[in-house]
Amino acid sequence: MKINKDKLADFIAAISEQTVYAPQKRGEALVFAPVAKGSNVNLAAANTTIPPKSVVFPQTETLLRFELGKTDLEAPVQEGKAVMLGVRPCDARAMVIVDNVFSWDVDDPYYLQKRADLTLVGLACLEPCVNCFCSSVGGGPASKEGLDVLMTDLGDGYLLEVLTEKGQTLCQSAEGLLEESVKEDKDAAEKLHAAAVNKITRQAPDTGPIPAGLPRLWEDPLWAEVSESCLGCGICTYLCPTCHCFDIQDESEGCDSRRCRTWDSCMFPEYTLHASGHNPRPTRRERTRNRINHKYSYFVDKFNVIACVGCGRCINLCPVNIDILNILSKVGEAL
């Protein structure tokens, strides 16, 4: 199937009994936000500043509501079908990876409910950015993993590949607007996908030996080296589509209180600070080491997949040019 670009607005309207998330400007940043009247959706731009995880795993989320001095609680699990339009394959893969975390021991109702309600309409990356390296960590500019529909920009319109039931039902709800695609469209898309892969400039070193090897480098000088210029800010982790750490806080206004979870970052000192004042990760060296180990070793041990999809955000936005690929190649050399 395919849809003409000028029909896109109607398509969104047609499916709008569900909340439709699409890339839009908030302040100076590009984020996935619910499409409202007059909001201008921007599918053309490169990947969003803030990854779409913010939709299923909001930066701030209420877990419980209660009143000071009272004992009754309320646990608001948000329901409601939603569609995410124009999500990039890397970010979609990231969601699949993060799903593991929220369901491996206990099911996290808040996250899983939103995931179940969500239909992912992907958009193939035809113009990868400088620091994209999805292809070398198991993904690709047109990877279908985690998507319900994959769109490919054919210039005048988008080719829609329906990949799942969810995708099917979604497209049906906008049937009138979609036209049958022809073989040429598919071939064109294939070509574009192939071309995109070749446009990717950066590669991660062979990740094969890394998961097993990292523990051996625990005391290697490279960690001090790569972390020395780290500012200890939250950019790399907050903007990482697979980072999923959170902090739980109670907040109250007068007696109305809530327990909420907010994104947390292993790059913050408070993250591992004990009540005693002791901090098992006292410096940025340990924190950086943990960040890499978590993505490329611990996670692999546990879920047998690297917790990095090569979206390149952490490289693009690190204020001091700490480059995960650079770290990986140092790791590679050291092994």
Partner: protein, 665 residues
Amino acid sequence: MNNKPKIGVYVCHCGVNISKTVDVNELTEYAKQLPYVEVARDYSYMCSDPGQLLIKEDIKKNGLNRVVVAACSPRMHELTFRRALAGAGLNPYYLEIANIREQCSWVHKDKSEGTAKAKKLVSAAVAKARLLEPLQEKEVSVEPATLIIGGGIAGIQAALDIAGAGFKVYLVEKTPSIGGKMSQLDKTFPTLDCSACILTPKMVDVASHPNIELMTYSQVEKISGYVGNFNVEVRKKARFVDFEKCTGCGVCAEECRLAGRVPSEFNMELGNRSAVYLPFPQAVPAKYTIDPQRCLMLTRGKCGKSPKCADACAPGAIDFEQKDEIKEFKVGTVIVATGFDVFDAARKPEYGYSDYDNVLTGLEMERLISASGPTGGKIVLGKGEGEVIPRDIAFIKCVGSRDKSTGNEYCSRVCCMYTAKLAHLVKEKIPEANVKVYYMDVRAFGKGFEEFYDRVRREGVRYIRGNPSEIFKRNGKLVIKVENTLNSTPLEDEVDMVVLAVGLEPRKDAREVIDLLRLSQSSDRFFLEAHPKLAPVDTATEGVFLAGCAQGPKDIPDTVAQAKGAASSALVLMASGKVKVHAQISFVNEATCRGCGYCVEICPYTAVELVTVNKMGNEVLVARVNEALCKGCGACAAGCLSGSIQQKSFMDSQILQQIAVLGGK
């Protein structure tokens, strides 16, 4: 101890003062359901013994560990309730007061509004109370000595009382002799006894009292420290006369080349003295002083062939090389008895004080009438040949008092009576004189005052109700332009002499004392007492008390009474020998302090300093508070970027709780 808050809330009716505008039952019910509130009660007078008993019993019975009292201002009864807590074995600082009287029931009419506001105030207090922490009151010893600034009747009286009680007194007087303004008066109203006769004996007692160290011609330079432990620096100005050697014989004054050529301050410059002088015959100490502004030796470096005073002085007391000395000592308490200035009549040009010699001020008239005065007690105008006795004499009241144009809105309280007194004395000395008094009101409020006023009128002094608008000269006579407001007739009375009943003003040098002791001024610019009713001799600075006109215009008996009050307040501290210092002071969390020294810069008391400590093997700077010096203003806490320095009982955490409640809708 398990410190889960168990709060008791106590709502006071204050008779009807609170209950008439605040629904106390509703308020109490509301308080009951606030978080961590164990009990809430209301009572007619919480500050009463049965009221306090309620609290004490609950603390014991229900194991309360926090108490909120919703009543009058904490400035009123905070101490009362703290004692109640302590009485029940609870730390007194587990108390928070919600001021629902002064700042609620007394300023609002609508009962529902009043109740609503009271609820907010109480719930804010409860919110803060949750986070209150126990504080320890430290005690410091009180140096058994008092500094008294000012040697007028107030200072003298206070000195005698304290010395009499067996405590050391340092009495510091700016001028060469004690006695103050009272020594310049002739008679005192309403009893007409001679001022000098009742004052001089006291002055002598002061000089001879073993416990009193008298420092005349001296000035307090610096006072540091805190209640019980003030360090004082006094500058003893050089007299250029050896204090020990001088016998007070006075030969030097007679010999002085400038004898009779230096205007005498004591005589309001109506008479003259020498450059080496005794301010007045009964001066104490009876030691001569050389006026450095006048003495030829001191101003020009030579006095004829040799200074006659020195030549004449048998004991050789004259010493032109003498230098100021600084004397340092420690006292536990301070009494400020710096007195007043008389209003400068020149500031009312319409009365022509600076233009006409026969326009005088009250105090000048005192000197003129006084037997020890420049004229030997004769009321005369002009000098020598031109000397004449005035026939028509007018008094004008409220000059520089009750007068917005001069910035003095207050009543000086003594002018009415000293005018009556002077009028009487004039009549006594010049029976045929006709004396008129121009007045706005006559305030004869004191003991025997009204009677005296009647007597003076019976003696023929005429009181004319009206405020003169102008005084000018017309063929040799003074003309008073005034409207008699009782029969609204404009008058132009011709007189020979006008006496302006000038009022009392704060001293020009009051600033120095303020900076010395961190006192504050009330709107009339006199020193502000801690409380107009309940602490009229105390000041905001602990251990510092007020006596006499420094605090506001007073007559002699009031001054003496207040001096005795100040003395007893000082004695209370010194007799007990110790005093509690602030508990609500600052403290530093050295773990998060970054040692930037902002608090050190800010602290007005140099109570914070940077010290080097060892943090896990690294030498780092952190701030540290000197608890004896900290006065608990909290300025450091507001200036600290990391919130590492906090003020006990006013911690960020506690204030933010109040904000959350009061800010919330």
